[in-house]
Point group: C2
Chain length 486, copies 2
């Protein structure tokens, strides 16, 4: 018998039974990437976690509308700094939307390699400016925001008289209002805890639009309130994101929604935990960290080899989404071996000899697997149970345990459901080939590098052309040469 | 000596020398898909043609900003019908943006399989509503549009007093104004030739936004004026699209730009021709036609087999983009064979025996290839010249013609440039990992052979050791070097 799905709700800090507002429909909103650089592996973990959640909800039969946004304008580090995309565009001397396009394409390719399903809707901040301006106006009209020198700020003090600002993150609003440093340029604010709904664009700012408050651009928190409401309604089931977004981003989202639509928007808040590498923090904003491409190419001083997308996905799913996940070569290599063992065993099931009776219980395994997944999507426990099954499969193969043909069929279906549908893994049958290809490629690229160093351009061109004919596109960059398989 | 690039300019109905407004920069705008169904093969042909043009311009060294839009709202069959995306959403009982997402993902996957490069910017109509509303207001302010019952129409009669409406398509404005049937519901218009800049949304319409004229949505032609201007400036070099877009779409675009920005926006208008199958018209709007997926799967009553993406691409490039292209099983099968012959010959070049002199001229071939491409991107002629080269390659191989080693190298580079960079083809035979490994190994072993011939034993040893580390054991024998995978 299956237990019912329970999820840990960050809002109430407890595990709760999952009861959608309008079953069998489930609305899920996840904060997507800001497309100004290659996606960070920490973000990939977050999106992989929600891919697991999306897949499991679909597997249970829910009709899920999964909305994950693309932030293509307005992501400021704080209210005084430059827009991340504008900054990148300025540094590279290109149009911001070229930055957006380059990294949106890259993001989709990367998530595709990790076998993540595309969300149902992928709205952009620039695609919802009118709606954002309307929400700002509504919040002003309700007396909870004010215009100041061409910008509009959310009035945390006024809001706090009616609502609990800090309810999600557990921050104390009085401390927030008194403790925040008085940053230069924030003098437009009445209170340091106030946050921007709309920012006045300075003359050099590239991305800007006309609004009732003059030329400007939306604050980063605003888009998520607007787009989740537009596509999922004023109240919906699941809102997800990395736990670093709890404050201020999600706290501000709740405040904006309550101020604008007068509804508590989200029933279940789900937050994923952070990544470390060899126990040390990885953070894009600090310029450290390994990109997914580097992990897949083995191209980073900390890496002793390349890891396939499915190895990385499997490795991630071997930790619960609410636990920190520590990357290391040893752990990734163990995941690589484990995944191979799992796939080999799965591929063996159909060839198992059938017996008149079973000495192991597929039904019990099934209960354990669903119990694990129903316990807040506990994929590591589910995977541990899958490895129990791997043991049996090998024992049945050796004649030391027995399964009936019905149980073999049931085991086959169960394993396929869990491995492919829910965990979203693929059999990288040619993973050995892909390592060989990568090894050869790294070597050939090194030879080309040497040829270039020796000014033997005929040779370096020949290598490029030969590789192109073989279906490899190579790209020279600051960090060296990378390749993609066409 | 190369001739300069010339293009056929639909605007002047003649071939003109290509001189960008601000070389080496080139701005190119191409009308992209309306994402309410799988992309039609006719659209794939258009986008493949502009991919060829984009690639050739890049190959010539131009810095191209290539903008191709996604129409995600506002595409009406005529001014009275329903929005295509809203209609699909209503029929399928889903949110319009789910339709948009589904077919945007599908479109990108399809174009990826055809090896089309992503454009530099891929803007959406919903991402530019503020800009569209602003342009409508500007045109009203200039007295060339009028509001009528919540919609805004372009005033063709007023515009025609200053400008030549019909200049691109060759239509006669007086005929347009008198001949058009007086359709039901168009009574808001002063004149049947007027077209919608902004449409009032009926209550059941899903996609709508607030505007100075009430709730509504932009007319289909408007987005292209706005987005081309935003990303390429008020005047830019190339505007492309299928020739079915000449009227009314592109004619209206020109009128909007001249009315709003007072500039003739486009220097070169390029239009691609239509597709037929077995001589009969294929058209998405008529519910007939074969999808790219059906062609690639062979899953259509008219198809006798599946065709690979590169076969289809090669087939398309064997017709000039301004000619109609007739699909048939026979023609596709011929393209399949031709492509294989071309790739086989290309892969043979490196193994050709070098002679002291050449009996065929690589330089002349190069001139012919560039002359063809410079003649309005004449890929079929270029491909015909490539097949001349195939003939030679086979004759040189058989000892019936001769090439020096320099000419062999030059031929290799030239063919690689044309086949891979310009025509954008891939060798699908090397899609398979084992073939990729073999291709790389043959190449590395050849480098080792060359190192030995040059008495660079340090290099040849290094190659051997590196290959061993990667799991390849190599063995030198009388017939050359062979390898085994350990």
């Amino acid at each position: 018998m299956q237990t019912a799905l329970h999820v840990y709700n960050s809002k109430n800090r407890q595990v709760e039974k999952f009861e959608p507002l309008n079953a069998p429909f489930v609305g899920m909103y996840v904060c997507g990437p800001t497309v100004y650089s290659e996606v960070h592996i920490g973000n990939v973990r977050t999106f992989t976690s929600f891919d697991l959640i999306y897949r499991y909800l679909l597997h249970l039969g829910y009709k899920v509308r999964y909305v994950r946004n693309i932030t293509d304008v307005g992501h400021l580090l704080d209210d005084t700094s430059e827009d991340k995309i504008s900054k990148k565009a300025r540094l590279e001397n290109i149009e911001p939307m070229e930055v957006v396009q380059r990294y949106t394409v890259d993001f989709h390719q990367t998530m595709g390699r990790f076998n993540a399903l595309p969300p149902s809707i992928e709205p952009t901040a620039t695609g919802h400016l009118i709606e954002q301006i309307e929400l700002v106006q509504t919040i002003i009209d309700r007396g909870l925001a004010y215009e100041s020198n061409g910008s509009v700020y959310f009035d945390v003090a006024a809001y706090s008289k009616q609502e609990n600002y800090g309810e999600l993150s557990g921050r104390n609003v009085d401390e927030l209002m008194s403790n925040t440093r008085d940053l230069d340029g924030q003098s437009d604010k009445r209170n340091p805890a106030d946050f921007a709904l709309w920012k006045k664009a300075e003359p050099q700012h590239i991305m800007k639009w006309n609004s009732p408050w003059g030329l400007g651009f939306p604050g980063w928190h605003l888009e998520c309130s607007v787009m989740s409401t537009k596509y999922l309604g004023e109240q919906f089931d699941i809102h997800g994101g990395g736990m670093d977004l709890k404050f201020p981003h999600h706290e501000c989202e709740i405040a904006q929604n309550k101020a604008g639509y007068q509804k508590d928007p989200v029933k279940y808040w789900l937050h994923t935990n952070m990544l470390t590498f060899n126990g040390r923090k990885m953070a894009k904003s600090e310029g450290t960290g390994i990109t997914p491409r580097e992990l897949m190419d083995g191209d980073h001083p900390l890496l002793t080899q390349a890891y396939s997308p499915m190895t990385i996905r499997f490795f991630m799913l071997q930790a619960h989404y609410r636990s920190t996940l520590d990357f290391s070569n040893e752990a990734l290599q163990a995941a690589e071996k484990g995944l191979k063992r799992l796939m080999t065993a799965y591929n063996t099931i159909e060839e198992l000899p059938a017996s008149a009776n079973s000495t192991v219980s597929v039904e019990e395994l099934k209960e354990k697997l669903y119990a694990a997944m129903n316990d807040d999507f506990n994929s590591p426990i589910a995977i541990a149970h899958l490895f129990e099954a791997v043991k049996w499969i090998n024992l049945v193969k050796d004649g030391k345990e027995r399964l009936t043909s019905d149980d073999i069929a049931a085991l086959n279906t169960l394993m396929a459901h869990m491995i492919f549908d829910v965990l979203g893994l693929k059999d990288e049958a040619s993973d050995d080939s892909s390592e060989k290809i990568d090894g050869l490629m790294q070597f050939v690229l090194r030879l080309r590098q040497e040829a270039k160093a020796n000014k033997d351009y005929a040779m370096s061109d020949e290598i490029r052309n030969q590789l192109k004919a073989l279906g490899f596109e190579i790209k020279d960059g600051k960090e060296g040469t990378t390749y993609t398989i066409l």
